[in-house]
């Protein structure tokens, strides 16, 4: 992070369930998903984020704030320039959790199948 920039990322210290609700709320809108997809390519100013969208800068700013409060976007302010960057922590958390259970159930059911198909029925 460049010096002189002041982070205004407001990370909610809510419990895990609230945080997850916030992430899914943020992802439930196509404009916000498009904004995130743009940020995968690299940080951008709010004006740059707004350019491809047929809506006002204020409307796009509002979407960015939703992403910010979900912890998906971190904003830095340098003078009058607001720069947004992807903060993939929450998505990583979701991904990790799903991966854990995907492997867990897949392998557990494999194990049950091996057990049930090997042993004669009782």
């Amino acid at each position: 992070m460049m010096t002189g920039m002041k982070s205004i990322a407001h990370r909610r210290r809510a419990n895990a369930d609230d945080r997850l609700d916030g992430v899914f709320h943020a992802l439930s809108d196509r404009t916000r998903r498009a904004l995130l997809a743009r940020l995968v390519a690299g940080p951008a100013m709010v004006t740059e984020l707004a350019a491809p969208h047929a809506m006002s800068l204020a409307a796009v700013s509002k979407h960015v704030r939703v992403l910010e409060s979900a912890g998906l976007v971190a904003r830095t302010i340098d003078g009058r320039i607001h720069r947004c960057a992807l903060a993939p922590g929450p998505l990583r958390e979701i991904e990790t959790c799903l991966d854990f259970y995907r492997d867990f159930w897949s392998e557990t059911l494999d194990s049950l199948a091996r057990h049930a198909e090997r042993e004669p029925r009782r």
Binding site: A37, E93, T96, F100, S111
Partner: protein
Amino acid sequence: MRGLSLVTRRLVRADAARLFADWTEADRLVQWWGPRGVQCTGAEIDLRVGGRYRIGNRFADGREVTITGVFERIEAPHCLVFTWRLDPGPDLDERVTVRFEPRGAATEIVVVHERIASAEARASHQAGWEGCLDGLARHAEA
């Protein structure tokens, strides 16, 4: 929307009654429970609506995790619904539905794991941050 859900299916060449018993009798469950690298260290099952179960798991790295919950629905031999909580883990109840659906001489087991919540307690066990952008792309394109 609260949490995520995940569906896993497996066709097993055994009948539903046998598989239901494998799942709901503790001495049978310990014989097969768990993914690769996880040893089932014991199980207690009080098979009635409102009854509790506990399943001990020892991971390859030595961590011990107990899965606990309460049965919400029991329809032998076709359906089982129970809450799911990891200890240690988040202070949240997830829910698992297991269906045993006859397919000729075989049975399709369908596990629906719902209300999957924060991976906070589990994320620390996973190495690296890779995959996060792939994950984002999938979410973003959804």
